[in-house]
């Protein structure tokens, strides 16, 4: 049983590590601010969903698991909120990206 828990948490955490790395790489190589934000959003959402349950398996039913659950809930609530605030702030400040200039965002300064 103990071995199973170790293997399960190792798999979960390694997957979380892979996704975190993919998100970090995306944030570096994406051409534009908004696509970088999408890549950074990956590390904000999927990584805690994988890494923190992996740690909770290790902690078992203790106070540490409750704290980890609190961290997970808080990260999942604040990550998207911060990304949304950042995107709207950048858009309002006239940070038009080249690709979407012609299609999505109308040129008239609202």
């Amino acid at each position: 049983m103990e071995l199973f828990l170790d293997i399960a948490s190792w798999i979960l955490m390694s997957l979380g590590g892979v996704f975190v790395f993919i998100g970090g790489l995306g944030a570096l190589r994406m051409p534009d601010l908004y696509t970088r934000m999408h890549a950074a959003g990956i590390t904000d959402s999927i990584a805690p969903i994988l890494i923190i349950p992996g740690l909770m398996l290790q902690a078992g039913l203790t106070l540490a698991s409750v704290k980890l659950l609190a961290i997970l809930v808080f990260l999942l609530l604040t990550g998207p909120t911060a990304s949304n605030a950042l995107a709207s702030a950048a858009l309002l400040a006239g940070n038009r990206s080249e690709q979407v200039k012609s299609t999505a965002v109308p040129e008239s300064e609202e």
Partner: protein, 90 residues
Amino acid sequence: MYYVVTFALIITMALALTRAILGPSVYDRVLAVNMLGTKTVLLLSVIAFLMGRPDFLDLALAYALINFIGVFAVLEFFRNRAAKQPEEKP
């Protein structure tokens, strides 16, 4: 057992740092700082188990709270500055 995650998190923080340095606009830097903050939270949680010290989890939770507020404070600062000189290219 935790080395894979710790290594991946440290590499991601290094990537976020390079994005902060390279970032052309100021909002890229805010994005990188936000990424760095959340990765620190995850790294703290993993190190809490690596070192066998459960009190690091409180640090991670506190850091997540502060990082969130910090991002909003910086955005508020830039919004006011952008509002004062709207023609200033970020």
